[in-house]
């Protein structure tokens, strides 16, 4: 409980350092901390490995960092039923090893995978690259235990794969950034590992052709796990990352052309078949070059791209990283993003499911750069709204967060969000003002 200045500084959230760090080892201990915080009206932020604390707005108050990494027990794993119940502080990597022993896995392939905890992966709401095939966390999170704002240990859902008993409160925890509860345990359905894996990467002279190929793969109905569209700069960064880690770099990921990467899994014959079909689609779309990836190189490239959020947000001294979803990825929409009217550099990554990561990079967090980011953010928020899509800033310099909300434009359902927050956290103990609309 007593912490040095250095330790406290490690728990900083958007420039704000907590007054204390507490590390519970059970849900009961977490509850006691919550009750203490509630009694003294202290503001609390639950944290895991703290790799994604820059998501959201700066907290108005931050007295206690509740470090959940002391809770890392696998409470229940029924491999025969493909269900799992695990403490929030369990590292994803540890979980991966345990599940692999039973030839299973959890499709939470999120950035900062090496350090991330399962609770952090859920609370941050960050994308898993496998969402095309396995859906998002809401599709496989089947229950949760958490401490609410009144300091009670609550649960919802259960440990069975099909369940409509009571409200699905655990779904509200996904992406909630610890603003409605301290997640103490999570229940998932697990998935069997595939017998075979493969991948394919192709490069294109123009964004239009690359996009036509990407959209053709998506429309083909072929089962792809990853489907990533890389702008030349994103490809260049990917290449640099692979080289730095001494990993093989596919020839198509070179940095002067647009690249599209697809990965697939199943039995040997399925992988072979999808590889052939994807290759044909790439050639039909006029790929400059294309190459199949074996399971090994596929895992390397897939692993590097899983980390895209991590390296895109630190790719320059000043970065505004947008996450944009649009109904259809059309060349016009991309052109609107990548029009270079200024000295800022841009990197674009389009994920399966129409999720666009758009990183704008500047050389310093000076007034001019922040002002340029602000203008761009306003344009992008407006563009997303016009296209019936969504746009938020996943990462932004503090200077930018002072000028606008990273959560984008106000939505019509904010009154309902506010009610959810009030029901869970009536006294406003959790991370005040970090969330959508200042919740």
């Amino acid at each position: 409980m007593v912490s040095s200045e250095e330790e406290l500084a490690e728990y900083v959230v958007d420039g704000i350092v907590p007054g204390a760090i507490v590390k519970p080892h059970s849900a009961e201990e977490a509850r006691e901390v919550m009750r203490f915080a509630a009694a003294d009206k202290l503001a609390l932020i639950p944290v895991g490995s703290r790799s994604k604390c820059d998501i959201g707005m700066p907290p108005a108050r931050y007295d206690i960092a509740l470090d959940m990494t002391g809770m890392r027990e696998i409470a229940h794993y029924d491999a025969g039923d493909l269900t799992l119940s695990v403490d929030a502080g369990t590292p994803l990597r540890q979980l991966e090893h345990v599940l692999a022993e039973s030839q299973q896995f959890l499709p939470l392939a999120v950035p900062c995978f090496e350090s991330s905890t399962v609770g952090g992966a859920i609370a941050s709401g960050i994308d898993s690259v496998l969402r095309q095939q396995y859906g998002t966390a809401r599709d496989f999170l089947i229950g949760a235990e958490f401490v609410d704002g009144k300091g009670n240990i609550c649960k919802s859902g259960g440990r069975v794969v099909k369940n409509v008993t009571g409200y699905d409160l655990h779904k509200l925890l996904i992406g909630s950034l610890g603003t409605i509860g301290v997640i103490t345990r999570l229940n998932f359905r697990t998935f069997p590992l595939a017998a075979a894996y493969g991948g394919h990467v192709a490069s294109f002279e123009s964004a239009e052709r690359a996009l036509a190929f990407r959209n053709a793969v998506e429309a083909s109905g072929l089962p792809v796990a990853n489907l990533e569209f890389l702008s030349p700069r994103t490809a260049a960064i990917t290449k640099a990352i692979l080289e730095k880690e001494d990993r093989p770099v596919p020839g198509c990921v070179e940095g002067s052309s647009w690249a599209v990467y697809a990965s697939f899994e199943g039995n040997e014959r399925v992988v072979e078949r999808v590889a052939q079909d994807v290759e044909r689609l790439a050639r039909d779309a006029g790929a400059r070059q294309d190459e199949p990836l074996d399971a090994g190189s596929d895992a390397q490239l897939g692993g590097a791209l899983r980390e895209a959020f991590e390296w895109l947000r630190w790719a320059a001294p000043a970065v505004a990283l947008f996450r944009i979803t649009m109904p259809r990825i059309l060349p016009q929409s991309l052109a609107a993003l990548s029009r270079p009217e200024d000295s800022l550099r841009r990197a674009l990554l389009v994920r399966a499911g129409g999720v666009v990561y758009f990183s704008v990079m500047g050389d310093s967090e000076d007034e001019e750069t922040i002002a340029a980011f602000e203008t761009m953010a306003k344009d992008i928020f407006a563009l997303a709204a016009e296209k019936q899509g969504q746009a938020t800033l996943l990462h932004a310099p503090l200077g930018l967060k002072k000028r606008l909300s990273v959560w984008g434009l106000a939505r019509g359902d904010f009154s309902l969000m506010k009610k959810v927050k009030q029901a869970f956290d009536p006294d406003g103990i959790f991370a005040p003002r970090r969330y959508v609309g200042g919740l």
Binding site: G80, G166, Y167, K171, I174, R273, T325, Q390, L416, V436
Partner: protein, 494 residues
């Protein structure tokens, strides 16, 4: 003397209520037109049932055509302090669409238009009264379909599916209703119209769609739904595995699950009920067996062939007497017709049946089936089983005669014991039918005071006066120590 006073008092209350209702009827008729308001007892009787064993009569029934009308109905009801309950086709099995608190029943049957279809984005925007199967019919020309397929999909509506978070045989591989809903338009209990979710991509903020889907009409009324459409698989294979021992059939399910094979559907029908189904439908099921598994594998041709071979092998290892493969679409459709109409066929065995809905971890299927048959025997019933074996979603069927009051009591007691047993195994009270007014008193088997406290706060923040679908989900009995057998006799059972 005292009795007479009470009777005078209650007549006074009743006449006051009658005045309130008749004023409300007048206002609603002028809002919706007289053809869209029912208030005669003989009309209201038709709306006092759903597919459950429960019964409750609304005081009036209205048929709105627009969201705006729904909002105004809700506001009028609030003005007269009369509760409101939404209803689709009334096929629900937990009393979710029954007017437990009386009041206004909003039937969405006339809000039944498909408003927009976006084939490229694979989305459809529909009104709540659209029949589940009609969504698929509207998009199948483009190779798409709406995945959740409750057995009642020819008649149940998407609004009801959303309220109950309905499942179906093919949800094993594709997920239940909530996994296929992108956005909702809601009318809140104060009449406010709000949109949640996002047609495209995830909306920032709390997953409100995830909260409202499956909230059993207790938080808001759903007036428009944006559904996700799925692509029809390239290949499908339907297998029928026939067993001489029910234990072998359930062991097969355990093995299939443990080996990581995910069929699109894995249904079990026991031999006893199967005979009746076959007499009724002639679907091609065997007349003499202990149980069959109806299994479907879907996907790429290469995956389907391998999965079908793996399933076949597991079945044979687990002593299947025979494994048949449907030769064509006709045979396949017939088997599914048999499965989906099975409950209807049971009417031939007993005057009524009580279809239960419990969930257990799949690894415990063999012991569970044996135990449940034992519970039935104890109460003098032969319990049938037609259920979604692949996701551990049991539907034990208690066949009884509702005219025999002892049988009614026993049916309810057996049902309760079976559900308690599911919970003991680490399961849940309901897999797809909902809690409604069937299991609200059993909720304490799973949830603590703290759980209820939070669920209650969530309920009250949206529905503070319990004006929307009162008497559902939450236990009405005070204190959670002892779960009482429902006070209500199953006299209205059918």
């Amino acid at each position: 003397m005292q009795a007479r006073q009470e009777s005078n008092y209650s007549e006074g209350v009743n006449s006051k209520r009658a005045t309130v209702i008749s004023s409300l009827v007048r206002e609603l008729k002028s809002l919706l037109g007289p053809e869209n308001v029912l208030s005669a007892t003989e009309d209201l009787c038709l709306y006092e049932f759903d597919g459950s064993v429960e019964k409750a009569r609304p005081e009036l029934v209205v048929f709105p055509h627009t969201t705006e009308q729904v909002s105004r109905i809700v506001k009028l009801a609030a003005k007269y302090q009369v509760p409101v309950v939404g209803r689709g086709a009334g096929t629900g099995l937990s009393g979710g669409a029954l007017a437990r608190g009386g009041g206004v029943m909003i039937v969405f049957a006339r809000m039944n238009k498909i408003l927009a279809i976006d084939l490229e984005s694979r989305r459809a925007v529909v009104q709540p009264g659209v029949v589940n199967l009609d969504i698929t019919r509207a998009v199948e020309h483009a190779g798409l379909y709406f995945a959740p397929d409750p057995s009642s999909q020819k008649s149940c509506t998407i609004g009801g599916n959303v309220a109950e978070n309905a499942g179906g045989p093919h949800t094993l591989a594709y997920g239940v209703t909530t996994n296929h809903i992108a956005a909702l338009e809601l009318v809140m209990p104060d009449g406010e119209i709000v949109r949640v979710g996002s047609k495209n991509g995830d909306a920032p903020g709390y997953d409100l769609c995830g909260l409202f889907v499956g909230s059993e009409g207790t938080l808001a009324l759903v007036t428009e739904i944006t559904v996700k459409l799925s692509r029809k698989p390239e290949a499908v294979k339907t297998l029928l595995a026939i067993f001489d021992a029910i234990e072998d059939a359930s062991q097969t399910v355990v093995e299939i699950t443990a080996r990581g094979i995910t069929p699109a559907a894995c249904e079990m029908l026991d031999g006893w009920t199967l005979q009746v189904v076959e007499d009724y439908i002639q679907a091609g099921f065997p007349r003499y067996s202990a149980a069959v598994l109806l299994l479907e594998v879907e996907g790429l041709r290469e995956a389907v062939e391998a999965q079908a071979a793996a399933v076949d092998e597991v079945c044979r290892t687990c002593h299947a007497r025979e494994v048949r493969v449907a030769r064509d679409d006709h045979e396949r459709d017939l088997l599914w017709k048999g499965r989906k109409n099975a409950f209807g066929a049971l009417g031939r065995l007993a005057p009524s049946n009580y279809v239960l809905d419990g969930v257990i971890p799949r690894s415990k299927l063999p012991q569970a089936l044996t135990h449940i048959l034992g519970i039935g025997k104890k109460y003098g019933f032969h319990v049938g089983n037609i259920f979604h074996a692949g996701d551990g979603n049991l539907h034990p069927i208690v066949l009884y005669d509702p005219r025999d009051s002892q049988q009614c009591k026993n049916a309810i007691a057996a049902a309760e014991e079976i559900i308690r047993y599911c919970v003991e195994l680490g399961g849940a009270l309901t897999g797809e039918h909902g809690v409604g007014m069937e299991k609200n008193e059993l909720m304490s088997l799973l949830f603590s005071e703290a759980d209820f406290d939070l669920m209650r706060r969530v309920h009250d923040t949206f529905n503070p006066d319990s004006s929307l679908n009162p008497g559902k989900i939450f236990p009405l009995s005070k204190g959670c120590g002892e779960i009482r057998i429902r006070s209500k006799e199953a006299t209205g059972a059918r």
